[in-house]
Symmetry: C2
Subunit: 401 residues, 2 copies
Amino acid sequence: MSVREKSISVPGFVFSGLSMTGAGKRNLGVVYSLVKDTVGAAVFTQNDVVAAPVIVSRKNLELSPVKRAVLINSGDANAFTGKPGIDDAQRCVKEIAGVLKLDPAHCFVGSTGVIGSRLNMKLILKGIPKLPDTAAAANSNDFIEAIMTTDTRKKLASTVFTLSGKKVTIAAVAKGAGMIMPDMATMLSVILTDAAISQEMLKTALTETIEDTLNCISVDGDTSTNDSAFILANGKAGNEKITKKNSLYQAFKKQLHKILESIAKQIVNDGEGVTKFITLDIKNAATREKAKKVAVSIANSPLVKTAFFGENFNWGRILMAIGKARTGMDCQLITVSINGYVVAKKGAPVADPKTADVIAKTLKKRNIDVKIDFAQGKAGVTVWTCDFSLDYVKINANYIS
Amino acid sequence: MSVREKSISVPGFVFSGLSMTGAGKRNLGVVYSLVKDTVGAAVFTQNDVVAAPVIVSRKNLELSPVKRAVLINSGDANAFTGKPGIDDAQRCVKEIAGVLKLDPAHCFVGSTGVIGSRLNMKLILKGIPKLPDTAAAANSNDFIEAIMTTDTRKKLASTVFTLSGKKVTIAAVAKGAGMIMPDMATMLSVILTDAAISQEMLKTALTETIEDTLNCISVDGDTSTNDSAFILANGKAGNEKITKKNSLYQAFKKQLHKILESIAKQIVNDGEGVTKFITLDIKNAATREKAKKVAVSIANSPLVKTAFFGENFNWGRILMAIGKARTGMDCQLITVSINGYVVAKKGAPVADPKTADVIAKTLKKRNIDVKIDFAQGKAGVTVWTCDFSLDYVKINANYIS
């Protein structure tokens, strides 16, 4: 089954999204669970500058394991907005809780848009009461549109599988195109499932799965102040409840991994101005931490990224980026392959002008595979990234985000 | 006296530069001292992948404090070229030493160009013997041209001052436009002086001065495998020899600082595709290390750089970049000023749409000043950087370097 879908639907959840001004792109959305005992977990940005909605959501997470709703606006990030910004985020939570007849502590809130820009509370407070009017299980696309900014494509993934004889769904939606960096919680994403799982196990599954999926992508190395990944589980599937790390947990985690890897790749594929989708496979490194440091250094190198944009066979820049990570690993042992061809081995180029021409031709494809074998350990990581194009500069020179 | 000159001249030093093919841009150059007891020091790249010429120059530095010549080629970086590459660099040193009748251990060697590309030894070995034919005190520009790659301007600075009653000159030339990152030794630069100074004090002065000059610039956050800053002092000025950290040393260091700050700024001003010259002033941070981490994070943020290119008043991205440095400093205390206007104070925007318009207009200037006051310590740093333009991408998508 493909994990990419045209819309998502998870038993017991309804979606809504609207334009606060009544015209143009939707920019306020909510997803909520109709099931009382829905539990939630979340992972947030590691940026020192933390947006108000992150502060409020994090506090609510401490207050209660129950989470019924995620309210998100796009346009204003409500980050670096001081105490008034936190008051605004709390007011939003209070309003959506009131409208949905929920405990405010049972709500998550997220914002995306211009940093330093306060929420337009007048419009938001007018919009929130209207959200339930159009809330429906089939309206996921309205919600997804509401959370998008420079995204050109909707990001969503869904899977249905069997758990202790019951049909279980996991689905996720996300926004994110720039300010995407692997070391953090990454972008805004909302993951929904009807699985029966304890909040503790839900949290563990999210944390463990994110490390190799949403935390393994980079568009530009910049990290949002608002990154949040929310997960809600409402138990409606009626499976044997997951309460420990047993085979049911592993089966659930495997499906969650599939969904989040799909979302991660979709975000990179829709990175601002992307023309190349690059998979960096680091193998046989001393430690996973060093492997990831190297992968991130390559993924964020403007010279590597522009070379791929130019379809240039300029593998020396990859070596530069490996070395600037300063992991202390022995670079004389490295083997580098691009699109299946070995270009450097044991500290020296594999000199063959004919192969160089062949490899150069493969760089015209959208998908690029770079494999780096450090030959000095057993650790590895896969990181997905993209090129740096003229359009990236154009988008970010003109867009206020 | 202005430190920027049209050519440099330092008593006792001669320059030469030629095109190895006999046509087109010069790509092989040497500068050497006619004085026997010339001492030298150097600082090299911190990249894990170290180019062959760096390995050879570093070894020669260990062998002898005397340094008479610096040989540099452009086109091939001779980096990640294995044992054969080291043999090539050593052969170059042997040849130039033979031609100039010097001890090979008294020579530095540098390369700049494509990483992974071996030197064209046939052409180099034909070129080296011709270098002395055109060597002259007045030929600094031939040498500078020989070491340039994507540089569009020559980088040179010179100062004359009095030391213990004697006229002393310090001059420097450099190449560097991309792959420039502050945390390292940075680009290729050659500093020449006729001051009388011990090798130990020369080394100390270079190391101390580089930290606040060549190590405080960033064009793209990428770090060359070949970065080297060489300094030679031939004592011809006849000043009282500097052998300890006395007032003469301080006077010398002050002038060296002036020269290297000029070179540092010239490199940023000639960064690939630069349209903005940005000065980042970090003040009252907890430690200099944290201040620099923040400055580098801002300097290397693609979103900050593209915003300045677009002349967008998008100061929220600066906050994002401050936070992603993850120094743990309290971001709620920060005051941010752009071109003299306070835009954010104590964790919140300074909301004044009129001022925003005024500030936006100042962004059309080439020179941009960003001041960040952390209000939680006494440490600071100044870092110079540039914007990220369409031309940066064009240059690096098409150029093999």
